[in-house]
């Protein structure tokens, strides 16, 4: 790995990204819209919910606070997944030309990952800060970690989607469908309690990040194990995506 090559690739990727003004504006607006709608439509009653990884089966939580946190994870996941997919999917041919001219595929991939990591951190921080404005009292650091893990897992999923599909429409479909069903619906603890197929909810990508956030926000329980599982889940997507991308970038000579 040559550092100067990596630096140039990171710099160019950041410039490309920073010039997508409309996309960046929409990304900034998305959590605002999600939180505004949630704030306007939820009540402040206390509801009993089941948090899958909590030691106490039923926990009483403030409906609005819980939904805001849940929707925050969904928002961070959507933003990360879209940026990740776009980073890896666009200009595959131009990137391959760079490899033909002397870049190593690993340098291009690592640069993309570095930029993705920056996006994940920025998205998490932004979502968490917005969440702190609408949810009072503010959520603890563990909730920040849960949102970050949600962004990480779905960022890695976005990478995989962007690698597998060659066109954007397919990627948009694959990202929206899964995030809507998973982070946007089934990971809400209200659904978990009465679900007839809990295993399905537990198998979805946002499950562990959501559990980390809920455990931190509403229970005194440790979230270390859930956090580890979330990292492992995201890393699996990451490894498959990288292997696939390397295969697509390979040269024959």
């Amino acid at each position: 790995m040559r550092l100067s090559y990596l630096n140039t690739c990171v710099a160019m990727t950041v410039r490309e990204l920073a010039r997508k003004y409309v996309v960046l504006t929409l990304a900034l607006l998305l959590p605002v819209v999600f939180f505004a709608v949630t704030f306007a439509t939820t009540g402040d009653r206390v509801v009993p919910v089941t948090i899958a990884w909590a030691t106490e089966p039923v926990t009483e939580v403030d409906e609005r606070r819980m939904t805001l946190l849940f929707i925050g994870i969904a928002a961070a996941g959507i933003i990360s997944a879209f940026f990740a997919s776009s980073l890896i999917q666009r200009q595959v041919a131009a990137n391959r030309r760079l490899v033909l001219c002397g870049y190593r595929a690993i340098e291009i991939i690592t640069a993309r990952l570095a930029v993705l990591l920056g996006i994940i951190v920025a998205t998490t921080l932004y979502t968490w800060l917005l969440l702190s404005l609408v949810a009072s009292p503010s959520f603890p650091a563990g909730a920040f970690l849960g949102i970050g893990l949600g962004a990480f897992v779905y960022g890695c999923y976005g990478l995989l989607v962007g690698t597998v599909f060659r066109r954007e429409l397919e990627s948009v479909f694959a990202i929206l469908v899964l995030i809507n069903i998973d982070a946007g619906w089934l990971q809400n603890p209200i659904y978990y309690e009465s679900s007839r197929s809990k295993w399905l909810i537990e198998a979805l990508p946002a499950h562990f990040p959501a559990q980390v956030a809920y455990l931190a926000a509403f229970t005194p329980d440790s979230y270390a194990r859930c956090g580890t599982y979330a990292l492992a889940y995201g890393s699996t997507f990451l490894v498959v995506a990288l292997a696939w991308y390397s295969f697509r970038m390979r040269l024959t000579r």
């Binding site: 041919a93 131009a94 030309r97």
Partner: protein, 205 residues
């Protein structure tokens, strides 16, 4: 006698059951402009992609002795980067970025193909012809010994087309081996040698 810069031996390629290239062999010698012609679907672009390493052949081998420059039919560029940024990016790829020499080379290419007024413009903001000029210039940035060009002037205006051929002639005189795919009948006089792809095989014109 020096070995030819480019040697293609018995290269075959099929897409599914359809053979496109069947045991194609040829050499490109230093100081020649080799034209590859043939009908649509004859396998010209496939052959070039195999030569540069973007596509795997089913059989045969390709030997290139020297720096290779490749310009595909379609401009492979980064839409949100400027023309200057493209030069910087590819200078890094070629390993030229740490020396300042590539800047002179960039300016020479900008001047030669007459698009220096767009240096700071993004690719999305320039015409198809200017994109094609950039695309070609990036293939020339590192002074390649072997130049593989797949219809590089399709979007050029007449003036740029003539500038391109004048430059190709200059490169040939400097000893570069140039392989060009072309559809244009009036290009034929400009080639030192013509290879026609027909029914998967090659025929000297």
């Amino acid at each position: 006698m020096n070995a030819p810069p480019l040697v293609v031996r018995e290269v075959s390629k099929a897409y599914g059951r359809r053979p496109v290239l069947q045991a194609v062999s040829f050499e490109a010698r230093a100081g020649e402009i080799l034209g590859i012609v043939g009908e649509n679907g004859a396998g010209k672009s496939t052959l070039l992609r195999i030569i540069v390493g973007l596509l795997r052949s089913d059989a045969g081998d390709v030997r290139a002795n020297g720096r290779l420059g490749y310009c595909d039919q379609e401009p492979q560029l980064f839409p949100d980067l400027s023309i200057a940024e493209h030069f910087a990016y590819f200078a890094r790829a070629y390993g030229l970025a740490d020396g300042g020499g590539w800047l002179e080379r960039r300016d020479e290419l900008l001047e030669r193909f007459n698009f220096n007024q767009y240096t700071d413009s993004r690719v999305t903001a320039v015409s198809g012809g200017t994109r094609q000029k950039l695309h070609l210039s990036l293939a020339l940035l590192h002074h390649p010994d072997i130049l593989i060009l797949d219809e590089p002037y399709l979007a050029f205006d007449w003036d740029t087309y003539l500038r391109f051929w004048a430059y190709a002639e200059a490169l040939r005189n400097e000893g570069a081996a140039i392989v060009i795919v072309s559809h244009l009948a009036h290009d034929r006089d400009r080639f030192t040698r013509i290879l026609e792809l027909q029914d998967g095989g090659i025929r000297c014109g």
